[in-house]
Amino acid sequence: MRILEAPKAQEVLELNWLLVADFLTRFIREELAWRGYEKAIVAVSGGVDSATTLALAVRALGAERVHALFLPYRESSPTSREHAQLVAKTFGVALEEVDITPMVEGYAALTPDLTPHRKGNVMARARMIVLFDKSEAYKALPLGTGNKTERLFGYYTWHGDDTPPVNPLGDLYKTQVWRLAEYLGVPEAVVRKPPTADLIPGQTDEADLGVRYLRADVILEHYLKGYPDQYILGLGFTEEELRRVKERVNRTHWKRALPTVALLSSTGIGEFYLRPLDYRP
């Protein structure tokens, strides 16, 4: 008699990328259409998230209906420019460059105590200003590029890089974006390099976060689905990794919400008065 034992079950992050790409291209088309847009605009940083978003936008709308913006600061890594150009060329989109240095330095000159961290936030918000102005100029809807891992960790500048109204990658973990990027033909140099916000020279995401994406994403998926700590530890993660992941998520719920409004009536918007964002009778 053969005795067969099933392996321990765990959540699977590997997806059917063909199906995902099809779904996300339809998503972009339909979400633009009801808002009355035919074109999209993407701020391309040279990183994998914006490259993947650009690739999806081109699939959805055609290269001629997609604007790509590169928004460097004078200390941005030269590799970022090279990679942004490579990505735009790969997907057949012209890359428009707007140097945000004068915007950032204009404020920095008025603010002698500006720390590198605060300056990084100013850069993110300067990029948001340019993105939305170009959106208006070209009548092209900004697409967000934030992935699920950074959204859950609050690893972004509030009202900076989280502002675009339509985001195709926001329910994909970073490691899933890597796999989708490979499927979509994002250049290997962009997919393989260590992820960085590039706000401070030498910065990397994984050093900032203190945990590897490959491990954080598996922990996150099990934590979000409600698996108890012991189960997650049983998958081979350390208590320190689990603690870091949970702490990051639970310190930043406010960042994933609209501003808090004092509720006085029984018609409070979003509390009592509830309508979906695409409701327009």
């Binding site: 590997e14 059917n16 199906l19 509830l274 309508r275 979906p276 327009r280």
Partner: protein, 292 residues
């Protein structure tokens, strides 16, 4: 004549705009007219879209308003003869709101309305916040035989289809709205589940199952489509693609039901065996305790 020509219309509504959805429906019926379907089956919440939150109160229709609107479309298209339509809609009745499906004989009458019993209120769903539950599952007579209506999650509980089958339904129409989720396999997980359920229910009871599933994105949630028609032996007769509008044409042949049930008499077994289990059903529902 035992063959009834059906069209399952995998439909994308104009969200929260009934007039524009009706115009879209009119265009689709014009395209279908040369194929002369006798029954057209539409998805859940077909004229408004599914996720309305409190907007249900503003867009719900009485069954007679629904009939009037669809008779209007029928007349504008200039359809000849009677057309049966199954359609999901938000229903208003005496100050209460329901997620309902109607079986209509255009241009004449409302044949039957089913109110969804199982209102999903978990995960991405929030129906019971806005809607009241239906309380009945029953088969009804159409000009083609006996049918039943179930709406989306109703069908995910096998007991509802069992009731419909015991009540004499030869076909179960299932208007549905199912946001795609779970992208690990060849199909989204919810679509694979629909297929498995429809085949299992059809084969268990020897009846037709017709699932009409909504398409279109609603606030990032992509209604999956994948509508399907399954024969009484559990075989898929026709299946629509994912995510896009489509019409599935198939003939429902009542003549196939008797031979399938003869070969696999599970329904008559159920009729004989179910009464034996009723005491246990009462026991697990706690009614015995409540009665004593």
């Amino acid at each position: 004549m035992e063959e009834v020509r059906h069209a399952v219309l995998q439909f994308r509504p104009e969200k929260s705009r009934i007039g524009e959805s009706l115009a879209r429906l009119r265009a689709h019926l014009e395209a279908l007219r040369p194929h002369a379907p006798q029954v057209v089956v539409l998805p859940e919440a077909a004229l408004t879209g599914y996720f309305l939150q409190g907007g249900v109160r503003e867009l719900a229709l009485t069954r007679h308003e629904l009939l009037e609107l669809l008779v209007g479309v029928y007349e504008e298209v200039g359809w000849e003869g009677v057309l049966d339509v199954v359609v999901g809609f938000y229903e208003r009745d005496e100050g209460a709101y329901y997620n309902s499906a109607a079986y209509l004989e255009l241009p004449h009458r409302v044949v039957h309305v089913h109110r969804k019993v199982f209102l999903p209120t978990y995960g991405v769903f929030d129906e019971e916040r806005y809607l009241a539950r239906g309380r009945r599952v029953e088969a009804f007579r159409t000009r083609f035989g006996k049918a039943a209506l179930l709406i989306c999650e109703d069908f995910w509980h096998s007991i509802t289809a069992t009731l419909a089958a015991l009540d004499g339904a030869e076909v179960i129409y299932v208007p549905a709205a199912s946001p795609a989720r779970g992208f690990q396999g060849g199909y989204p997980e919810n679509v694979a589940r629909w297929r498995t359920l429809a085949q299992a229910v059809a084969a268990e009871h020897g009846l037709y199952v017709v699932v009409a599933s909504l398409v279109g994105f609603e606030g990032g949630k992509g209604m999956s489509g994948g509508s399907l028609a399954v024969g009484p032996d559990g075989r898929v007769l026709a299946e629509a693609p994912l995510f896009e509008e489509a019409a599935l044409l198939f003939a429902l042949d009542r003549g196939r039901i008797a031979p399938v049930r003869y070969e696999s008499p599970l329904l008559s077994d159920l009729e004989a065996g179910l009464p034996l289990l009723l005491p246990d059903l009462q026991r697990v529902l706690g009614r015995r305790d409540a009665d004593t």
